[in-house]
Amino acid sequence: MHNEHSDSHFQLRIDKGEHIEAKDYMPEGYREHLIRQISQHAHSEVIGMQPEGNWITRAPSLRSKQILLAKIQDEGGHGLYLYCAAETLGISRTEMIEHLHTRKAKYSNIFNYPSLNWADIGAIGWLVDGAAIVNQVSLQRTSYGPYSRAMVRICKEESFHQRQGYEIMAKMMGGTKDQKAMAQDAMNRWWWPALMMFDPHDSESPHTSDAVKWRIKRETNDELRQKFIDKTIPQAELIGLTVPDKDIVLDKKTGHYKIGPINWEEFYRVIKGHGPCNKQRLDHHIFYHHTGAWVREAAEAYKAKKAKREIAAV
């Protein structure tokens, strides 16, 4: 009989394409990797509510206000699904939030950039969600069952996000001179950070090899980035936006676009905390977490009182 609690048996299951469930045996490294990745993903969704939230109260029409609210609500919901998926691995939401606040856990660098004009809402939906969805579609097949199921639901819900972003961009590019300028300005600021969302080349990513072996990650960073570039550049051109990269060429043979060098120094600088909004984003989360503590305590106290009364009534 094979030993079901061995790493080799675990790897055999992974290689057969089986999904791993919460109570199944898994190597400690697999569990840790997933906790790190899923909680980071959850934090990204939740912190990601802020740059878009910055425009809810200034959305220029009743339609756009509802769309934006519904979209940000989705991001919150996705954070929620992912926190719950991570909880199946034996970490509580309380701990995950504490790790976020003490900077032990990270969130996506992209949300450390500011949203400065209304077209940023378009650019975030189109470019940031567009980049995220390339990653997320790939993660639907990830080996951990609860993570995979959360991703399936998330991808289904995200499908309108990118379209609403592109719709805003298209509308503004068809609008007044001021609107066009806003759209191009947003494009200029979000293009490169969006490309950085796929992280550095895999050879420079510390966790890639295990993640591929365990089928947590199904495609390399560069493959995913290329997919995003290839589908996005024609979309930009269609509505008259200039991609802020003089080196772009279409390789006719492969059908892929080649881009200029990515400024990874900026990426590492922002990761280290020197992005325009790192402090602001985390401060916001910490502030409202503490502000709401008395409400959560009250809910618990009410539950306890009620339970006591029910026992007394029996």
Partner: protein
Amino acid sequence: MKATDNLYNYCLRLGDDALILGHRLSELCSKAPFIEEDLALTNISLDMIGRAQAILKYAAEVGGKNDTEDDLAYRRAEINYYNHLLVEQPNGDFAHTIARQLFLSAFEFYLYGEMEKCHDKTLAAIASKTLKEVRYHLEHASDWTIRLGDGTPESHHRMQNAINELWMYTGELFEMDEVEMTLMRDGIAVDLIPVKTQWYNRIKHVLAEATLVMPEDSYMQTGSRKGVHTEHLGHILAEMQYLQRAYPDAIW
């Protein structure tokens, strides 16, 4: 004054309540005590902005000036806004948010319950859709009032405080001026005298279960039926209308 002016005005009153409270709740996105509650508040906000859109669209139709619902939301000045003072009050702490919601949702629950039967087909249809949403808002706000009132000493104190502070804006909910009296005779506007009794009894019941004290009747603030507001509305509109005002030629 044209016969439709009263209906136009009545629609603005209803639509503006939904718009301004929907806006206030939207300010809370990413600021709720925990993520599930963030989603819940956004759902209420979306219900209200959706309702505002429907009612303002109808107001624009009745107004007959080729306005759209967005023109009414984004190009009207404070003095032409007719939402109740209650809904423009700041979110405050979570207890204030809940108290404001409790007061308004209870009012809307009985208001739209009656309006379902009104002679204006459009308003009746909007009312029956709204009633389903508002029933949920009322339940959500009542449950939280009870949890906070009967929770910790701190939450009890905060909840009582919020109820007391917002109480002076509740009298206005039941004011009926010439506009509403005329429309009521036509079978359109809702008679607010029975609504007030129902509202009062419901609030009393919820507060009792929450171990909270019903505030004593005191001076009630007034003004919104004539477009006279608290200072808060101007700031809401300055923010909400910014893009439409700054770029009047743009289509968004």
